[in-house]
């Protein structure tokens, strides 16, 4: 009798753990929303939701790319620096109109990502070091390009990207949502997505099975660079100034946190796009909740640290199966 109960308890615990890994982030977001509805003044207002979503949009876009990279058992530390590079180029080409300026920023992001991918796939450098070089050098380069200056932007069309609405929803939120859907389809419904996950799961086996491992890896880092540049452009438009010194600072950490909290393991072989989006929302909600309850920045950072540890501790069980 006792043995049976014990076994049942054991199964339950395993089931709870698995369930938490799968749905923990959604439950956490729901719980935090409920808490705020009851205990936070002025939470259920349109203005508040707008602010939260607009703040989360750039992180979300970067985290999408990061999720792909982490799915291949890599990591991209250079995303913040790529945002700064994109931001530094905008004022140089804005004279020719917003479209060429944005295009150049995106092309540079794509090039930076491709460069990272080349180092990882073809030269065989570990992702941390390969992207660390660009993290160290990229922001410096952005500051050199911008002469270390913050540049105010006045192009109305460009600034519309940061402040404008489409059907009542901010444009940057539309873009983040659209890119999330595209990435979910890319991972779930295309050969590229399947290959990406396979390579993250077992690179040697994928190579032996004849998958174009190097091409896929370069592609993944290129997408991550491109998405970082998109985030850089949007953040610049919202700030209505190009600020390479500050933009995207520590973005790599926020993005990695969101991906990990969303249930994607750092060991690769799995990409959870919806989980990542909810990871971003969760971290944004946590920050908003702490701020609205007048808890200082110090507490906010320590709470974030605790959330990361708990999320990874829960996700860790998967590797033992």
């Amino acid at each position: 009798m006792t043995a049976v109960t014990a076994t049942a308890g054991g199964i339950d615990r395993a089931r709870v753990a698995r369930w938490l890994q799968e749905y923990g982030v959604y439950v956490a977001v729901a719980a935090l929303l409920l808490f705020n509805v009851f205990f936070t003044a002025n939470f259920l207002t349109l203005g508040n939701f707008r602010t939260q979503l607009v703040q989360a949009a750039p992180v979300c876009i970067v985290a999408l790319g990061m999720a792909l990279v982490i799915g291949t058992e890599g990591v991209d530390l250079s995303v913040g620096a790529v945002m700064a590079l994109a931001a530094s180029l905008i004022p140089l080409y804005l004279g020719a109109g917003p479209v060429p300026a944005i295009a150049i920023a995106l092309v540079v992001g794509l090039a930076a990502g491709t460069f990272n991918g080349f180092l990882v796939a073809h030269v065989g450098i570990q992702p941390i070091v390969a992207t660390l070089a660009l993290l160290v050098g990229g922001r410096g380069l952005a500051l050199v390009i911008a002469n270390g200056q913050l540049v105010q932007l006045h192009d109305k069309t460009f600034l519309e990207l940061g402040t404008g609405d489409l059907a009542g929803i901010p444009i940057s939120v539309w873009i983040a949502g659209l890119l999330s859907v595209v990435m979910a389809l890319l991972v779930g419904r295309t050969t590229f997505g399947r290959r990406l996950v396979a390579i993250g799961g077992n690179r040697t086996a994928s190579a032996l099975a004849g998958l174009p491992v190097k091409a896929v890896l370069v592609g993944v880092y290129a997408i991550c660079g491109l998405l970082a540049a998109v985030a850089g452009v949007l953040a610049t438009a919202r700030l209505s100034a190009s600020d390479p010194a500050d933009i995207g600072m520590l973005m790599e950490l926020s993005a990695i946190t969101a991906v990990v909290v969303g249930g994607t393991a750092l060991t690769g072989g799995r990409v959870r796009i919806l989980g990542t989006v909810f990871g971003v929302i969760l971290m944004q909600l946590v920050r908003a909740t702490l701020i609205k309850h007048n808890l200082p920045d110090s507490t906010a950072q320590m709470v974030q640290a605790a959330i990361i540890v708990v999320a990874v501790y829960v996700a860790r069980e998967r590797s033992t199966r």
Partner: protein, 332 residues
Amino acid sequence: MTAVITDPPDTAAATRRELMTGVLQRQGAAIALVIVVAVAWFSFPRFGSLDNLRDLALQSSFLAVIALGMTFVIITGGIDLSVGSLYALGGVLAAYGSQYGFLVALALPLAVCGLIGFVNGVLVARTKMAPFIVTLASLLFARGLLLAITDEGSNTYRVPADSAFIELGRGTIGGFGYPVFIALVLCVIGAVVLRRTRFGQSVFATGGAEQSALLMGLPVARTKITVYTMSGVLSGLAGALTAAYLQSGVTVIGVGTELDAISVVVIGGTLLTGGAGTVLGTVIGVGLRNVIQNIINQIGTLDSNYQSVVSGAFLLLVVVLQRSLARTKPGR
């Protein structure tokens, strides 16, 4: 033995090439340092001045202490992102503690930072969580703690002007500051521990082949906990020395220092995959980074942003070289 005798001559040439490759790979950073120093010495009259060298040595000593701990962590196949935050936290705690006397000023940062490092180690070793994530969390935690004890960063603790603690950072022997000698002594001890002790051997074994190390009965978990604790203590010490030198606990230092430490360790030839590395290489890496920085400052017309561009490019150059040299070795 017989294999050597029956080797055809072209294999001997290949062996020599392999030897050269090995030398380049191991001593690449040292060779680069010699070249850079020589160029700087002849191009900039001020570079060789005793004042500049003293300054250079002092600036290098803080990073060297942090990078020493990082070297051990990386050799076990791990990584410690929390060192920058712990460095800042150590400085603030030392300045705070200095009002209670010399011992508290030194013991408080070492104890707190060591404890955080210990927790890093336990989480990495016992729960099998990725070092990258564990130490990322403690990076945030330590910054948060720093902000909490400094009134959200608005309160800078000053070391009392009559405190003996200041001597630790500002005292000199032959013009060179105490931190330089402390860093040197620690690095020598570190090198000996790594090369000549059982603990050092299990550090290498843990990073080289963790499963084999486990099967051989080596204390893998204890080794990991020890290296992360060491890294925490050393970062706290570097912070304390900095606080003693600056005579206050500056709250904004140490952002990105973890990346500096990782770069100099990698430039010094320690492999991020673990299992190989030297303390001497790390010291050379620190020297190389700071000499290049010094040169950029000497040029004067270049703005300081070029410094990070050069550092990034240099890091890239070193890892690409390491990688391509490793490839020319047969059997890889």
